[in-house]
Symmetry: C2
Amino acid sequence: MTDAQSRLEHLASLLRKNEHRLTPQRMAVLRLLALSVDHPSASQLYDQIHAQFPTTSRATVYKTLNLLKELGEVLELGFADDDKRYDGNKPYPHPHLICVRCRKIMDPAVSIAADMLQQVAQQSGYQILGHRLDFYGVCPECQEGG
Amino acid sequence: MTDAQSRLEHLASLLRKNEHRLTPQRMAVLRLLALSVDHPSASQLYDQIHAQFPTTSRATVYKTLNLLKELGEVLELGFADDDKRYDGNKPYPHPHLICVRCRKIMDPAVSIAADMLQQVAQQSGYQILGHRLDFYGVCPECQEGG
DNA sequence: GTGCTTGCAAACAGTTTGCAGATAG
DNA sequence: CTATCTGCAAACTGTTTGCAAGCAC
């Protein structure tokens, strides 16, 4: 069984366990999220799903994403001037690498040291609940294109 | 001369140098930005300015902030579900500490090691242009309040 | 059969924009 | 004087919401 398949089953059984219904529309969102390595937006998910199942609305995609977010199974990356992007595979804080040209989002192989979180907590007295680290740059493909 | 005063003069002379006019409305925005230690939103700036100078519109506040951003004199922190916040004193990337209750934003005394940026650049092949690091938590004052 | 879920369309909110009148230099 | 700036109000955009009809269980 592939990672994507087991992730999909995890998501599906979690919905069932929490007494949410497994509609075809929801399954389509779950499947795409489990398969995606990039970080799709609601609109990108909608476009793909709607092409296959024309009986799917934007509202349902948004509602499903928010449901998964509340269940802690999806990481939402919000942007002020751009669509929100969703990570259905690693729903916990981790760094992202964002191409400012093509808007591709990758996961770089670095992490915030636990030291740093403790340091901030101690210095500030804040109770730290989460964090977000984004790197902005130009991806190799976009560098070639001028 | 205080830091805020010299910062204000810097901003004012920069506008003049770039052939932008120093209107009273702009000066009010500049002054507040130079004085602010928290990270005000456009609306917060507007409220304060409009109280003193009723002849000031939201649009002008937004336009002035965007002008300063283009000149590289203000750091804009955008949020998907909240107002943008502005830092007129340190207009370069640095970490922020955000209280999820009262929405106060502070600067913690930590920084991203240059090592980390280089590491990401080398691993990924991206040309890194900037970054953003936000810590989310509950500030000491809000912890007391339950 | 019951009540959760869907699709539609309208609402929402912060920000941006077009334009006519005002004003800094 | 004149080009830039202001204030107003409408437009914009991604997301959310209310509601009647549909369907999972």
